[in-house]
């Protein structure tokens, strides 16, 4: 088996376990708390606004926004890791049909694996640290993925031509 296929298969299988384990951890220890935080913050903001306490109502809305920001990204990480893992394994099974030399295929495989780990990590880091670094990581991972996917599609299409 070629190195590119091996890299994709092992990377994909590890990513499946990582994505599912993260999903299980998230469902057990984080999701309920985050959803509760979203709802309670919003309910508190409405309750406080009804009592004309606009400043604390605004603060409760900020807490709602922060919890929702985290929730969206945490769910995204789970779904993207799992989805990308499937894609890596699939490509791992048929990567020899991408009509490029093995060295190029190895670079493409490495870029696919790196992008698949990096992009969700960047998204997850946005919930932990602020600033540009997590966004840059996520953007770099996504760019790596889309460019590599385009190359893989071209590789398959050449075969079809």
């Amino acid at each position: 088996m070629s190195h590119s296929r091996k890299l994709l298969l092992v990377g994909g299988l590890l990513l499946v376990v990582l994505g599912m384990s993260y999903g299980l951890y998230y469902a057990l220890f984080d999701e309920h708390q985050t959803l509760e935080s979203i709802t309670l913050s919003l309910a508190r903001s409405f309750s406080l606004a009804a009592g004309k306490q606009m400043e604390p109502a605004g603060a409760a809305l900020d807490a709602y926004a922060a919890a929702k920001f985290a929730y969206v990204r945490e769910v995204d990480v789970h779904s993207h890791w799992s989805g990308l893992a499937l894609l890596l394994i699939l490509f791992g099974l048929i990567f020899d049909q991408v009509t490029f030399p093995e060295r190029t295929r190895l670079y493409l495989a490495a870029a696919l694996v790196a992008g698949s780990f990096l992009f969700p990590v960047g998204v997850l880091l946005q919930t932990v640290i602020g600033g540009l670094l997590p966004k840059a990581l996520a953007a770099a991972g996504a760019a790596l993925l889309t460019l590599t996917l385009a190359a893989v599609a071209a590789g398959f299409a050449r075969r079809g031509g």
């Binding site: 919003l42 606009m54 993925l145």
Partner: protein, 375 residues
């Protein structure tokens, strides 16, 4: 529809084909179970979209409006209660969220089942253990979505925990079963890699270089690529703006209601509903086009096991790819064309379901032929 008189399993002898796809074997269980799960998930998604999604959104809007009116009236308890009806335990968002989770997880597990079936020749474990793992996987893949569906309906009844009901506990158990099965197969792959056997080349994954397989490979990769490009566009252009607008509209609702400006508060409620719709169609289009792309890639491998003539395989492939484009494109167009686009999107989904059912029938015919030959 005619079955072509070609060799079984794409060129393999009938005996070899039966050995590669044994009756009651792990591979057959995973392929039939996988396609069955995907079909069940898609049909569930259609039923959910028609009978639950819009009605639920309407009720959320009504409670939000009532909450804003309670703020205007200075009734703090009522304002809070309306929000809790939307987002609290057993609330409308839980109703929607658990249905979406059910739909997504059934289909995702179907994909993983197909994938495991493909990887199975590279799993160095005894066949009985592979079969046990397949049963454990399919059990978990069924238990999790069914339990998630029940979360909203069962609530905390008879639960030993204060905030997590029995349905959630069973859903987590289902997830654990899936993880155990995947970890078992992963161990088998690891053993295969360590054995040094180069059976990877001997195992012919795509024995037929048929038009349908190749079209599904190229089409699937392009669909995934388009899905990621759309996702990148959404994240770069809309995501942060939508999040900011979400909070800003809520702030406008509260400030306008507290100041007695009912019209402005109601306008903000309506705009908030529109924003949720905008977010939902982008996310649905992104998710569906990638899902369909992955499905097309997986089905490329299954084609040698579909006992239909090549022209019919090509027709079903074309139907599947057409539906895979129609659904997400017209989901996006719902923002401009409303229900007309929604109806066309549903037709796209139906095309995918019909094509998948036809392929499942083709696989069943293949298994029937192999078993009859063996007998």
């Amino acid at each position: 529809m005619h079955a072509s008189a070609r060799p079984a399993a794409g060129g393999a002898s009938p005996v070899a084909a039966t050995r590669a796809f044994p009756a009651q074997g792990a591979r057959r269980l995973l392929i039939l179970g996988g396609i069955g799960l995907i079909l069940a998930g898609m049909i569930f998604g259609d039923i959910f979209a028609v009978f639950v999604l819009h009605q639920n959104a309407g009720r959320i809007g009504a409670h939000l409006q009532a909450g804003v009116e309670a703020v205007a009236a200075g009734n703090a308890a009522a304002a809070e209660a309306h929000i809790l009806v939307i987002g609290g335990p057993g609330g409308l968002l839980e109703n929607r969220g658990t249905k979406v989770d059910t739909h997504v997880h059934i289909i995702a597990f179907g994909y993983i089942a197909l994938l495991l079936a493909l990887v199975l020749p590279y799993v160095a474990l005894p066949e009985p253990l592979k079969k046990h793992l397949a049963v454990v996987f399919l059990l978990g893949a069924t238990l999790l979505p069914v339990s998630v569906f029940l979360i909203y309906h069962v609530g905390l009844a008879y639960s030993p925990l204060s905030s997590i009901g029995w349905a959630s506990i069973l859903a987590d158990l289902g997830g654990l079963l899936v993880i155990i099965a995947c970890a078992g197969y992963l161990t088998g792959v690891w053993r295969h890699l360590r054995s040094g056997r180069d059976a990877w080349r001997a195992e012919v994954l795509l024995p037929e270089r048929s038009g349908s397989s190749r079209t599904l490979l190229v089409g699937g990769t392009l669909l995934v690529l388009i899905g990621y490009l759309h996702g990148a566009y959404y994240a770069g252009v809309h995501l942060y703006e939508h999040e900011a607008r979400d909070v800003q509209l809520l702030r406008t609702m509260l400030e306008s209601a507290a100041a007695g400006n009912a019209d402005q508060a109601s306008a903000a409620v309506n705009a908030y509903g529109g924003l949720q719709g905008e977010k939902a169609v982008h996310i649905a289009a992104h998710a569906h086009i990638i899902e369909f792309g992955t499905l097309a890639l997986l089905l490329a491998f299954v084609q040698p096991l579909v006992f239909l003539s090549e022209p019919w395989k090509r027709r079903w492939t074309a139907a599947l790819l057409a539906g895979s484009v129609i659904l997400p494109v017209f989901v996006l167009l719902e923002l401009k064309w409303g229900l007309v686009a929604g109806g066309i999107a549903d037709v796209g989904g139906l095309l995918v379901i019909i094509a998948l059912t036809a392929m499942l029938i083709g696989v069943l015919r293949h298994t029937g032929r192999l078993d009859a030959g063996k007998a």
